[in-house]
Symmetry: C2
Subunit: 634 residues, 2 copies
Amino acid sequence: MTSAILEEIQKTIVQRLPERVQVAKVEFEGPEVVIYTKNPEIITENGDLIRNLAKDLRKRIIIRSDKSVLLDPEKTMDKIHEIVPEEAKITNISFDEVTCEVLIEAKKPGLVIGKYGVTSRGIVKKTGWAPKILRTPPISSEIIERVRNTLKHNSKERKKILQDLGARIHQGSKYENEWARLTSMGGFKEVGRSCMLLQTPNSRVLLDCGVNVTGDEKTAYPFLNVPEFSLADLDAVVVSHAHLDHTGFLPYLYHYGYEGPIYCTTPTRDLMTLLQLDHIDIAHREDDSLPFNVKHVQKSIKHTITLDYGEVTDISPDIRLTLHNAGHILGSAMAHMHIGDGQHNMVYTGDFKYERSRLLEPATVRFPRVETVVMESTYGGHEDVQPSRNNAEKQMMKTIYKNLKRGGKVLLPVFAVGRAQELMIVLEEYMRHGMIEKVPIYIDGMIWEATAIHTARPEYLSKDLRDQIFHMGRNPFISEAFHKVQNVNERKDIVEGEPCIILSTSGMLTGGNSVEYFKWLCDDEKNTLIFVGYQSEGSLGRRIQKGWKEIPLKEEGKTKVFNVQMEIKTIEGFSGHSNRRQLMEYVKKLSPRPEKIIMCHGDAYKTMDLASSVHTSYKIETKTPLNLESIRIQ
Amino acid sequence: MTSAILEEIQKTIVQRLPERVQVAKVEFEGPEVVIYTKNPEIITENGDLIRNLAKDLRKRIIIRSDKSVLLDPEKTMDKIHEIVPEEAKITNISFDEVTCEVLIEAKKPGLVIGKYGVTSRGIVKKTGWAPKILRTPPISSEIIERVRNTLKHNSKERKKILQDLGARIHQGSKYENEWARLTSMGGFKEVGRSCMLLQTPNSRVLLDCGVNVTGDEKTAYPFLNVPEFSLADLDAVVVSHAHLDHTGFLPYLYHYGYEGPIYCTTPTRDLMTLLQLDHIDIAHREDDSLPFNVKHVQKSIKHTITLDYGEVTDISPDIRLTLHNAGHILGSAMAHMHIGDGQHNMVYTGDFKYERSRLLEPATVRFPRVETVVMESTYGGHEDVQPSRNNAEKQMMKTIYKNLKRGGKVLLPVFAVGRAQELMIVLEEYMRHGMIEKVPIYIDGMIWEATAIHTARPEYLSKDLRDQIFHMGRNPFISEAFHKVQNVNERKDIVEGEPCIILSTSGMLTGGNSVEYFKWLCDDEKNTLIFVGYQSEGSLGRRIQKGWKEIPLKEEGKTKVFNVQMEIKTIEGFSGHSNRRQLMEYVKKLSPRPEKIIMCHGDAYKTMDLASSVHTSYKIETKTPLNLESIRIQ
Ligand SMILES: [Zn+2]
Ligand SMILES: [Zn+2]
Ligand SMILES: [Zn+2]
Ligand SMILES: [Zn+2]
Ligand SMILES: [Zn+2]
């Protein structure tokens, strides 16, 4: 069946390419079709040939050389160094014998590609090897290294995974696309464990698969036991962004036999690996058991297919996926799903920010077509009127300015991914312009690693930041203002030392080093604690925020009461979520206007408040399902 | 696993019964537990013993004799004739060696049972055989004979089916009952192909499985391809009533491998067999192919478990079913489902009439508990104000009276089940009281068979009718006013003969003998055609109703134009469905008041009109799902 389709495609390809192109082999590699040829240069030098072929076949096409024409690896290395200018700063070259690719890691990957790809085409021509060019992060990242090594060392297995997947995707629709429906499996009328299942007569696609880290055994995980879900029938998982409430349960899928792909952006893959490993780590330390382990995170990496924003990809016989910027965190995406032959288009927003931030562009509002939108409503209540980014920044800087003036230290407990990097950019900017005193900014724990991942993917940052990095050669993340903190001794030196700013996790003082810093700094009224994120009920952060002055905490096994003398500040407006006004504005600006909006990712009350306002203001049908409901979208 | 449960139960039974009761064997038989004993008389004479045991085990218990104590069949026959009074009019006695039951068919089954069961207990005591007493229909019924023979000849297979089923039902809940949900698979925002799936973490139960006989390949059958449905996982099918829009697709389930039970009332089993066979017959004649055949109807019969109204039965590890009168047609039921351990109660109304009719009691409004109601809305539009039964009767009788006065003939095209019998009762009553002339009433085709089934189940008729039949010994259905018509010659004699009344199918003149009668009678203005049922758009009935005077119809292969001279009347109010006022009144009277009402079985507009009125008037949450949606009910 499958080989028949592949043969068909191969026949078309051979017919359509000039005779002198010797097609050695045609293979599926996930959603793509790979052509192995003995003279790749003919094709690579005639871009139109492939562009037209791809258009006709309606498939993405990749050209690689047949093994017989590959240059010896050592000679290839020499050739590459000959062709690529020194300023590209190549840090590593390795060979994938399975895919006939040469992996070139460089500090300036753009120079390995060359203007209009001229350099990389030169490599193909001279060596036969297809170059796969990766950026060497300016700050080295353990996670990125881990991910790249996992892929390198499992190239053969991955090839097999991709071939099987390709066969499945390209098998063609068995049934007519009479309907499409969506089942809510988690994160509806609640925040946490986001998960939903898109179904058509031909496919099943899961959108996100998160955990509620503060939930108990009944509320922590999505309802994978809903009758329409089965791992065996699952075609694909699409992930909006790296936060655990959207990715925390993915390893479980692989633990229980899922063998299909995850689609997401590259930063999402890396950041979610970081967060998943940290989740396992914390559970381990707290003697909590999770229903999966590091092995399954590793397995997810092998099954992940990364997509850039705007890249259109077949993910099942009748669903075509395109990711678009969501403005929430690095790599966060809205998933546009084109179902059947133009029958229906659905957008799942994931978490999104409809406001330009220091770090990211605002969420996409224009789509080629869209009938149904599934939309987050975290701040959907009409009282959710957080100040603008601009105001929040000014307020924070005033507080820090005053603190440093009086010789104090500033503690910023933050979540590692997103808000931390946003604050780093602001602090660096203000400090560089002399608007606050030049003091060391200490970056503790996981924040550093998350930042390293940000530096590896500058393409995903805001235009302003990209301009700074690419054209002005100034990457704020590698500024000398920032210092990585690695162990207890360093921390002790910091709290006993000069005025400074400390960014540390966890953001709600529910564990991690931020609590340790708090203990050290709380009894001095010169110091300041600034909350920039949500403090959930019951957390230490919330109690301090409320004004508790005597806090009992464990210290070396004993409980000790800490007196809060330090200044306590809460600054709103740094959220990665759209506030109420931005949510409403987003719906208003959405183009084209959708027929139906389904609300998710919000407390029941906020979800319903937003739904009713959208319905009243814009006359769009809205739905507020509970978990475990299914809605016809077509 | 299963045998462990059975052993457990057997242990309890042995402990709880007096030592002199020798328990030979304990078996599951569907939802019931059967105790085989060597001295059944001890138990049957101490009713409390079993009642208490059943209460403790929360299971239904049946007592049978061990094979070793059974009297020889021939001697048993003699004994039975000795014990049972002649007036019982036994018509047949047969033995089921598998279940150790003796089947006694009698015209007056009450006399075989005896006062407080004394006679049937006598049979057990004297012969060992457990009597199963069946009514011999006053009008012989091919269908009932067919059903009884099917069960007799497949006793062994049926025993196996029931044992397997018992094991499944009694296996206990594997998962906690955190939720319950309902998936609409057909008949939502439409009429026809009624079908829905009730799901809990422990069970899947299908409610109805109908066809839309006027639908095309896309609209005729319910969406069995909805992802949460699988025949292998199905625990049970519950059927509300016999009409094909609720039962027409059941044979398909057995064709494709379903091996589980159907639960319904006895009249529903018999009437649906009649209608299913007729459906297959018609398709055959019209060269239409159905995706099942007579074999699969046969298989459904073997898998059907009949329940009386009010009989509480476990149908899965966590669902307990009770059927209640729906007042729609003979045996029509509302299904009350008790889910989990008192966690949730749902009522599916099926089609229902909330008004006393000649034939049936009005639908049940009181339930022990009910949180969710799934309710039909056929006449849910606020313009659906059909006259009362009483007015309809009067109007019809006036028409018939005038017709017969002038020496005409009356043609009543009717649907075979329900309306036909209702009219028969009215006609017989008026004629007996001399309020219309005494002329023959001809009952054509399937109506006769459907009526025969009615006479076999007088327990399901209205109190008035039961009183007439049981206490006054007058069964209107066997009145001499009625004449069975069997072939074309008889029909010709009728149309050429004296004034008369003719009841014939189909009800919409879409085929069947009613069209033939029309052809013969239409050109005489003395005759009258009375429509008492809905005439769907495009049917011949509708065209005549609209006033067409020249009707082209096939006659002996050629098309001939028929001139309509006969009187045409439409009389509303005989519907088996509640009108708008009755629907609203039903919700108002429902006790206890439900939390949520889900609307089905109605055009989109009527469904929504009723939902919105119920919501406004009674402040009950209403839902109007499309097909293929799922709703949380708990
Ligand atoms: Zn998020
Ligand atoms: Zn989220
Ligand atoms: Zn009906
Ligand atoms: Zn119906
Ligand atoms: Zn309302």
